[in-house]
Point group: C2
């Protein structure tokens, strides 16, 4: 009876864009980074991640490139585009407004 095991719906794209803002990463590394930065609070399942990355590609928010990782393995590296950065800022703003609105209710007397 899971309320929501993993991520709050609507935040996955924002979080992916956010971790890609600092440096290009491949899929698996994106999931690990989100997990690490949240101290294991948030987990990105692969069945969520890869479809999401397809969507980001389709919208032109990221560009993908097959490269060789430092472990000598073929990996698909995703880089944030300028459109992606703009989208990130929009989504962060939307999220912040929501979070503030909810906080206003929860903290109301």
């Amino acid at each position: 009876m899971p309320i929501y095991a993993g991520l709050p719906p609507g935040t996955l794209v924002m979080l992916i864009l956010r971790v890609l803002r600092q440096e290009p990463l491949h899929g698996y590394a994106i999931a690990q980074k989100i997990r690490a930065l949240s101290s294991d609070q948030l987990s990105v399942e692969e069945g969520s991640l890869y479809p999401a990355l397809q969507k980001l590609l389709a919208n032109g928010w990221v560009k993908a490139e097959w490269t060789t990782s430092d472990t000598g393995r073929q990996v698909r590296s995703y880089r944030l585009t300028s459109r992606g950065l703009k989208q990130l800022e929009t989504e962060q703003g939307d999220y912040q407004r929501m979070a503030d609105a909810i906080a206003a209710i929860v903290e109301s007397t």
Copy 2:
């Protein structure tokens, strides 16, 4: 185009329980109160609200009673139960953990 026009998924139950903590309210008034407390940022559609209230009733988190409103109208008033209060505290804790985890990522260098 906002990703989510209304509420962030997973928060509706928490918000209903929260506004009922202060006083019993009928459905329509719940929606208005959430909207007002959030300065019109959050809107609860009736098609979301009433099914959610059924769920709260089924779980024993609220009790319903037909009463007469101050406008002389028959309304169904919902009152928070002790189980509902406990549920509210759980959900607020879960939400806060999520919000903190997301903030940690968004605010990471």
